[in-house]
Subunit: 394 residues, 2 copies
């Protein structure tokens, strides 16, 4: 099996699973109960939060643990009552949440990078929240968060000078980025940051929201007062402990992993360029142009989004599946609904280009040795598809 | 260790944990992804939902999986826009959620059973939701849900006859009941039912909401469209699989467990009555009256709520903790906040009685042999407390 869809899901890191296991059956106590074993569970839980906070340069008290990135995003958006601005390439969780508000979409360039001038132009006085993912989930494009934060800071100062009291917050969904970018909330300048365990070797159903001091949120869940009243409900102790262990592990191997993924991505591209079947793709007989989406200089090291205009990417996925090579056309949830990617549409791809786009996202399950296998299988699948369509048209 | 707080948390059932394990690291795929291994994960997930639905006599399509009972409750309450009615002894998750609405509190009797006449009297035309827990989380009192459902049915018919279109739904939080009562949503007559994995040998951070056909809810989370658009976010696959396995296990052993807990509760009460130190409690020297709260005829078999007026229950918990016997005064989340139980206050206990109340909730970790140990330790702790207060006052 060769798995190339780490942006959709990652296996739980063995260390994270080991860290979680005792908290299912032995240390199962309710962390809010008054006796010693429960207090120990509370300590382990708070320790995990502290570790996770440290990974992003924050304090434990700044984190609200949630059931995943989608919940974190909903919670983040409660900071706003007025208008919100999001980039055109946000994940469905941000886009669909924004639609519950008066919202605006910020343009992106062909690589999916936010257009800062367009952001400035749309930052009218009623805007209360700007939400831009740290790294895009289909292109891997890394956004200039610090520059966005600086623009917002200027707007805040200008508003203050004019006596306008509308708050303005910056939220970023960092779901894809935690295991590839050394995140510091201070350096990024964000007020709110969404984290997702399941994308970084932690368990599904766990997330976190970093909330800067002074940002007022509205609880999504009322009850027992957990998470400083912002997120009631018995804490998911094993989940949070697993998340912290995975995040710590990711942080520890950040540079090494990045280097490894860069080498794999480079090898994959080299193989694709050299394979005899692929060179045929660009040849005169089969004028298929192999394009890499996004800007490799501002892209997560593990992302290799490919565009093969004129080829049916869904058929390629099916062909590769026969060889136990697994990848997707884009976000899993969108793929499931059979709708075309709004991300690919937003960077100006034609319908034909969108239909021919694949998302390869490398990760912990991959090796350098897999890359020629992938390149060959992809090239062969493309050649078969070309032969099929030629037959159909001929 | 003797653990007597199963109403606060239960260890994950070994079968449930075994069922979950493959879905962390091997079958980690995103169930919405398009390739075969992901489709197998989707199948396993849907199968788990079907099992869970079957346990409560419902269909898979009627269940929305959530991150726990608290979230299920929030989601259930989105059925209402107008007034809501809840019993006076609801869990904080219901009470604090109701406070976000125009709400009324239904009286209960001394056993914590809902006053049906008071319910009828408060069922004015603006009421849209009634929420009464199937079994109370501090007293174990089982509510007459079917009778409540019948009253609501009459009110609905009356409203229809008068041309009033305000909907009226019945929600019940069955968090404490799933492993002790054979639940059938049809028999109970509920429109909405909250389930909680962590109270029945499943993992923390997982819950479900049963939603009868025709009940319209508002999503709490927007995004990828999971759970029929009612609860977006990547599914917590291992969690849901663990919940289903635990619920199935609980259902299979329902009668046996109930009998076992009844025997334990009986033994505990018998031992408490016979222990020489305890008989002293009721004697003339130390006029402490040992009372059992709730009505044993309408009580979960594993609940033994005890009231020792004049004794400081928190000190008893501390003393028992020294002997590795763990129990609480009431709900863990309330205990954590140091506030006095609104449940005990609502059944008419005085402040002194509330301060002397303990919640013993038996479960899978208990044995019959533990009961004399518990009775002796409790009696000794009470005697010590009496001696201390006598010294202090003398």
């Amino acid at each position: 099996m060769i798995y190339l869809d780490h942006a959709a899901a990652t296996p739980v890191n063995p260390k994270a699973l080991q860290a979680m296991l005792p908290y299912f059956a032995e240390q199962f106590f309710n962390p809010s109960a008054p006796y010693l074993p429960a207090k120990r569970v509370r300590e382990a839980y708070e320790n995990a939060k502290a570790i996770l906070a440290q990974v992003i340069g924050a304090k434990s008290v700044d984190l609200v643990m949630t059931s995943g990135a989608t919940e974190s995003i909903q919670l983040a958006f409660t900071a706003a009552r007025g208008k919100v601005l999001i980039s055109k390439v946000e994940h469905a969780a941000v886009l669909e949440t924004a639609k519950q508000f008066d919202y605006g979409l910020i343009n992106v360039d062909k690589a999916g990078t936010i257009d800062l001038d367009n952001l400035r132009a749309q930052l009218t006085d009623e805007v209360e929240l700007v939400s831009v993912a740290l790294a895009n989930n289909e292109l891997g494009t890394i956004q200039p968060l610090a520059e966005i934060a600086e623009i917002l800071r200027e707007v805040r100062l200008d508003r203050r000078a004019r006596g306008i009291k509308t708050p303005l917050f910056l939220h970023s969904d960092a779901s894809q980025a935690l295991n590839l970018i050394d995140i510091s909330v201070a350096r990024l300048g964000v007020d709110l940051l969404t984290l997702n365990a399941a994308k970084v070797g932690g368990p599904k159903g766990v997330g976190a929201l970093y909330v800067a001091h002074g940002v007022r949120l509205k609880p999504l869940q009322y009850g027992g007062g957990q998470e400083r009243g912002l997120r009631a409900g018995t804490e998911n102790v094993p989940g949070v402990i697993g998340f912290a262990a995975a995040a710590e592990e990711a942080k520890a191997h950040l540079a090494g992993n990045r280097k490894e993924y860069q080498e794999m991505a480079f090898a994959l591209k080299r193989e694709l360029a050299h394979t005899s079947i692929v060179s045929q793709i660009g040849g005169k007989v089969n004028p298929v142009e192999l394009k890499y989406l996004g800007n490799p200089k501002r892209q997560l090291a593990n992302f290799v989004p490919i565009c093969l205009p004129g080829i049916d990417a869904e058929r390629l996925i099916y062909k590769l599946e026969q060889q136990e090579i697994y990848l997707s056309t884009g976000a899993a949830c969108a793929a499931n609904k059979g709708s075309k990617s709004h991300v690919f549409a937003s960077i100006g791809l034609s319908d034909e280009e969108i239909a021919g786009s694949l998302r390869i996202s490398l990760g912990s399950t991959n090796t350098l040795e897999q890359m020629p296998v992938v390149a060959n299988a992809l090239a062969e699948a493309v050649a078969e598809e070309l032969a099929r369509t030629r037959r159909a048209h001929g």
